[in-house]
Amino acid sequence: MEPSGQIAKKVSPFFIVIIMIFIALALSFIYLGFQDFLVDNFENGSLNLTIGLIIIAISTYLLFQTQRRTLRPVLEIQPLNTTVLCQKCGFKNVREFQRGDYIFKQMEEPCPKCNEKTVSISSIFREVKEKAKRATID
């Protein structure tokens, strides 16, 4: 099942290139600033460092702004597992949810193992994979 309402990420590559040039420029200024400090030229050093840091701050802000505009899918169909269980022989089949499924629904098809019409839906649920977390206060 495909999620509906998928929104494409629309960030201009030209914009990304400009940000990258800005970052490269900023790093050059910072490098020059450190070089100046090493030869005790504090005036030029502080000037280069200031320019470099200002450019890097602007570039980072712009980069974050482009990321913020990215939207996740709006209406997602979440994958659900339906468990079909034979009440007589205990045969269990886990499959994807289908429209019309509900818990305790008596199925019309007979059990593939004992051929009795004692099959019903015993559970429907979704599994959420939690992101691995660092040690936190529980």
Binding site: I7, F42, V74, L75, L80, R99, I103, F104, F125, E127
Partner: protein, 375 residues
């Protein structure tokens, strides 16, 4: 430790042209921020609200489109239902007068009954081929779309008002609660498809417990969309009740419990109410807790009826809550919530053993949405 001289060396020197320019720019920034700092802050907030508003609009439009598609697919209407759906999204209900609170519950109940009947009639007109279960499910998805529409319109109101008045405080109050509103809207969005497909949702866990207890026993229909079964548990007779499934339906559990208590002339030793309850951050999804009182959410009409009747017949009411947050409550049921089922049933049996004698009568009410849950 840095000395003042060392710190000053980090600032641009003013003895060359670029240094002077930078000094002026810095001073310019200082002056501009002194007078327009609040306005810059407001522009940033407006941009943030604008981004969320765009997302809310998208959610609202998607929910509306999904509802129209479901009506066309299930209901096979002769005419395009778009206009009717748009009308539905704008419905409102005016709460009863609370200045004189006497009898407010009955007036609220009447209002909710009228609203429910109106919704169902409208959906029957929109989707003439839909069966009763599908009507319940369509009603749920349309109500979710209406909820998203309302959230979008309220946020848009504050956004436009903030822009119009250029008042930081108008925009700030909406910006501060925006993360919570977006969380709620995202939960609503995940419910749209679940309701349309008739999937069990987290809020249905109370009904699921009751369904599991009554599954092999004869059921009878009682007051508005509720089913009850007489189930022997631990040598006692339990009236197990839930909303009739598998359509999206919460029924009127308060009225049903009241009727059972009155039919038994109060000879009920214990009433156990089971429902999903909001969890605090840090609590685990599917955690089970016990308490005292009527654990029924919603507009409190049902809660009131149970409290009144329990007081009249001096019936102790105990509550079992299954913890989940709003997102889990209206999204398809999580495994952790489903896995809590056996734990809840064990607790119900233990409470019955501890609090009642053999031969006693008890009520077990599974509260919640029966969407995707039979009996």
């Amino acid at each position: 430790m840095l000395t003042l001289q060392q710190v000053s060396q980090l600032l641009p020197a003013a003895d060359n042209t670029i240094g002077w320019i930078l000094q002026i720019i810095f001073l310019g920034f200082f002056v501009v921020f002194m007078f327009y700092g609040q306005r810059f802050q407001m522009w940033i907030m407006i941009r943030e609200v604008e981004g969320s508003l765009f997302k809310l609009k998208l959610m609202r439009d998607e929910a509306r489109k999904a509802a129209i598609a479901a009506i066309n697919e299930i209901g096979k209407p002769q005419v395009d239902p778009t206009a009717q759906v748009d009308r539905f999204l704008e419905y409102f209900a005016i709460t009863p007068v609370s200045l004189d609170p006497a009898g407010i519950i009955w007036r609220l109940e009447h209002l909710l009954d009228v609203q429910d009947a109106r919704f169902k009639d409208d959906i029957k007109l929109m989707a003439p081929q839909a069966d009763s279960t599908q009507i319940y499910n369509l009603e749920g998805s349309l109500e979710v779309a209406a909820g998203l529409n309302m959230i979008y319109k309220v946020i848009r109101h504050f956004y436009l008002l903030g822009k119009k008045t250029l008042s930081l405080y108008v925009i700030m109050q909406v910006q501060m609660i925006l993360p919570l509103i977006m969380k709620e809207a995202e939960a609503y969005s995940s419910a749209v498809k679940a309701f349309q497909l008739g999937q069990p949702i987290g809020d249905g866990v109370g009904a699921l417990v009751a369904a599991k207890l009554m599954h092999d026993y004869e059921k009878t229909k009682i007051e508005k969309d509720m089913v009850v079964a007489t189930v022997p548990i631990e040598g006692r007779t339990a009236y197990v009740l839930k909303a009739e499934g598998p359509g999206l339906n919460v029924g009127k559990p308060g009225e049903a419990i009241k009727q059972i208590m009155e039919q038994n002339e109060g000879k009920i030793s214990l009433a156990i109410v089971i429902d999903a309850a909001g969890k605090l951050e840090g609590e685990k999804v599917g955690e089970v807790a016990e308490g005292v009182g009527v654990v029924i959410g919603g507009p409190e009409v049902d809660k009131y009826k149970v409290e009144e009747t329990a007081l009249k017949y001096k019936v102790p009411v105990l509550a079992i809550a299954i913890k989940e947050d709003l997102g889990d409550a209206i999204a398809p049921m999580r495994k952790e919530i489903f896995d809590a089922l056996d734990n809840v049933i064990d607790r119900v049996k233990r409470v019955i053993r501890e609090r009642t004698k053999e031969g006693d009568f008890v009520i077990i009410a599974g509260i919640g949405d029966s969407c995707g849950i039979g009996q």
